[in-house]
């Protein structure tokens, strides 16, 4: 399942909860962009098929989707004396 929310915290207060960002909006925009770009990618893949790069161009779509679908659970937290940074996909 794709992450729907992202918890982002950039603060000096270690107890701050940060903000929840609805990343599903980003996915919607990204998928719309992918659909719009698909005919161009297809043409580029056809032109570069002989060089062997066309296959990789087409593979970017499923690979990108697989990365996005598996982002859930990614948690990056950096605590410093000055600042705390947290990025978590929920």
């Amino acid at each position: 399942m794709m992450p729907m929310l992202m918890r982002l915290k950039v603060s000096r207060n270690p107890n701050g909860s940060g903000v929840m960002l609805p990343v599903f909006f980003v996915w919607i925009l990204l998928f719309a962009l992918m659909v719009i770009l698909f005919p161009f990618v297809l043409i580029a893949a056809l032109f570069t098929w002989r060089s062997g790069q066309g296959k990789w161009l087409l593979l970017t779509y499923p690979l990108l989707v697989s990365v996005l679908f598996n982002l859930s659970g990614l948690h990056i937290e950096i605590e410093h004396s000055d600042e705390n940074i947290l990025i978590a996909f929920l």
């Binding site: 970017t60 679908f69 659970g73 990614l74 990056i76 937290e77 950096i78 605590e79 410093h80």
Partner: protein, 136 residues
Amino acid sequence: MNEERKKILEMLREGKVTVEEAEKLLVALTSPEETKPSAEKPACKYLKILVEPGSQSEDQERVNIRVPIKLIRAGLKWAAFIPKHAHSSINQALHEKGIDIDFAKVTPEDIEELVSQINDLTVEVEGKDKVRICCE
């Protein structure tokens, strides 16, 4: 294949033992560890990297990273996009770090096997900072 197994198979070829007898002998040779079903370890879901300040460290920076194994698998598939002419640079960089492998010969199956064995990985380094890499 060890010597005993070879001997049994030779005896079978020479007709000194029947197929059933050879099978019994081969089973008897199998070590208890091989016959015993391996204790199922819970599958590792995340790779966790923790960096904490050590006792002598002045810097109080802490890093806590948790990466889903599925994301690592998906990310590693992007390695196929590395152009062939970059392989020599990668090999050279790996060699400088003391890793003598030919990147061009690393197949997706090898990577898959590596990731599947990550369950048993635990790295603990205690120097200026404490670094712990483990699975959970």
